[in-house]
Symmetry: C2
């Protein structure tokens, strides 16, 4: 394919991860190597900033900051949950691209973002504007179809595995046959993250915590869980449960949905851990329940990120640039190479049922063999005055040349 000279635009979208900035660093670092790329811009807050022509000059950032992005959590460009809907929105995006001679667009995000990238790509084609769009996958949820695994996932399960092992030390010290410790982890539609906590078990120690992993893939069965907890309390003196926030009952209702109303009479959102805790307290008189909900902590815990994951995220960014320059306008994954954007958008990759043990609350060797490689290696995060330090971009603005746009 013919060489295409012009500018690069990168955007980040959806929930941040520990390594989405590593992909950004990979894109910037690689783009600098290619002379046909003139400017490297970042769009602030994903498509939201692109619509408003809020662009920054990434080439103006110091090399230290770009390097520090490799271990910085969050999304340094800002992100959004805004979904382009109107045709007018898509046309505005292209108008902005044309105004700044954007010929390469890299969009880092999950399912929705891949869908957005796909639509922009198609509109550009229709209009005969030469544009190469590559979606770079990221999601802690690991549920992007086509991908074997997704940057962001390894780090969240690495952090949680160590955390579960640490809480287990604490629980083991306190347990006197009545301690039930619940850790609610992310995962609305698939149990990938909860399953990953199984890596806290030592090899050949199936009785190691977590004792129960409650997945959205397995409908919640109150009687069974109570029986499981009782049995484990007897054997281990404490019971450590990992529950996915998206746990559902046999009718598909979230466990938390029917639990309680808040002080103002609104239905309480979230809280599968709290709801489960209440159920156990009622079902097992005398049980002492402790609920931890790391919440956003788990997807931002860059100080405990997986080096494998971080490196793959960086490589994904680099490879996306190389592929785009070579003329491939598709979706890149570390293992499977490129896949059409339209294949990946809006699908959800489920945790394979055959990786769940027959007890329905633990993972088998197939899962462990899959997940183990993803958490290998530790990222060396620099500390300053005792606290981990992260990149902060200067965000030098690119001059706007278009009239304002109402979002």
């Amino acid at each position: 394919m013919a060489e295409l000279a012009g500018n690069v635009l990168v955007g980040q979208s959806g929930g941040p991860t520990s390594v989405i900035n590593a992909s950004l660093a990979g894109i910037v670092a690689e783009a600098l190597n290619h002379e046909i790329i003139e400017e490297i811009y970042g769009g602030l807050n994903g498509v939201l900033g692109i619509l408003q022509e809020d662009l920054i000059d990434l080439a103006a950032e110091s090399q230290q900051q770009i390097r520090a992005l490799r271990h910085t959590p969050g999304a340094a460009l800002g992100t959004c949950r805004y979904k382009l809907k109107k045709q007018q929105d898509f046309e505005r995006v292209l108008e902005v691209f044309k105004a700044h001679n954007i010929r390469y667009f890299f969009y880092l995000g999950g399912n929705d973002s891949q869908d957005t990238a796909d639509k922009i790509s198609k509109l550009a084609q229709q209009q005969g504007y030469e544009l190469r769009v590559i979606g770079v996958p990221k999601t802690i949820d690991n549920d992007l179809v086509v991908t074997d695994h997704c940057p962001g996932y390894g780090s969240v399960i690495k952090y949680l595995s160590t955390t579960i092992r640490e809480i287990a030390c604490d629980n083991e010290a306190m347990g006197q046959g009545d301690l039930v410790s619940i850790v609610e982890v992310m995962g609305r539609s698939a149990g990938w993250i909860a399953a990953g906590a199984a890596l806290a078990k030592r090899r050949d120690h199936p009785h190691d915590p977590p004792h129960l992993i409650l997945l959205p893939e397995v409908p919640f069965n109150q009687e069974k869980v109570i029986e499981d907890v009782k049995r484990i309390l007897k054997r281990e003196k404490y019971c450590l449960i990992v529950v996915a926030e998206g746990l559902v009952d046999a009718d598909g209702n979230y466990l938390a949905a029917d639990s309680a109303t808040d002080a103002f009479g609104h239905a309480k959102l979230g809280g599968a851990g709290e709801a489960l805790g209440e159920i156990i307290e009622h079902g097992i008189p005398g049980a002492k329940v402790r609920v931890a909900r790391p919440g956003l902590i788990q997807r931002a815990a860059a100080h405990a990120a997986s080096k494998t994951d971080s490196d793959e995220a960086f490589l994904a960014g680099q490879a996306a640039v190389r592929a785009a320059i070579a003329g491939e306008t598709e979706h890149y994954t570390v293992e499977t190479g490129l896949a059409p954007l339209s294949d990946i958008a809006n699908g959800i990759k489920k945790l394979p049922r055959e990786w769940i043990n027959e007890d329905l609350v633990s993972m088998n060797f197939q899962f462990l063999r899959y997940a183990q490689p993803l958490i290998q290696g530790e990222v060396a995060v620099p500390y300053d005055a005792g606290v981990a330090t992260y990149a902060r971009l200067d965000k030098v603005r690119v001059d706007k040349s278009l009239p304002a746009y109402e979002v």
Copy 2:
């Protein structure tokens, strides 16, 4: 004072910390140096195991395991919240001590445990049984009187400072003027832990997160908090709040009222973060609230422990042994040397009011100057197959020689 030959008994009590095992390692390592110490025993589950003559032989543990205790969270001997009450209990403890020729008793714990140690010491004196008792302080709460600071505290605030900085990266990426992120941290009666989150701010960046620190020392004022949050949302696009679990209103009622009490009659807590989230959602229509509750994670996060804290905990154990052998039967702290056990038991060290800024939601330079040194240095925790690894004692039991005792 005359040399006292005999055996050592160590017990751990109360809530575990990241470094209580470092103190245990210090005691064992130091005791091995002194020939007048014959056996080194551990009591399982604090006084509970001692009452039941559940002792293990710590000298039989491998040196690797004792060394690994220096970075292992939890309480390797097990702990308890059991409080000796009956005179019969105290007499049983002495009976066990006599049966095993225990002449040195080291009790690692917080306020309640220091009280227990004090009473045992006094009873031994009354009975003319030569026994040297030293309480080794530990509490993440940092509220032991007499101590300048307490092993355990530095590690919890180091972990939280990095965590707050990480969540802030995430929040900053997502914030569009409506995101309110709440992190509920431990701290029942004093705001030491919540205050420590202030270390997440960079020097000379007072607008860095956490934007609001809500302390038990400052009665909750709903109108003021709503105003504060609105102002910060306007300025920063997101608002990161750290709230102590023990937050109270002007009447002294916990924000999340809960009638349950633990074994010591302290109110059982949980839910200040959720309660605050509801108040904010109600008071600021459109606010998107995210609540994280690290719960036990924060006090077990040994992978992010403070080297200063861990080293001090180890030194406290060593020094306790040296002091006991020299004939000092008191309470040891790293900075202040020894203090009478009866002074430290049951007191609570409050966070000085003059360290809180006039805005009532941030800490001044006096606090930062105090807390900064406590989080310096990182503990190198070994990783195996991608997960942090911790010590597990073999727990070789010491033969029982007394009749069973009903607890």
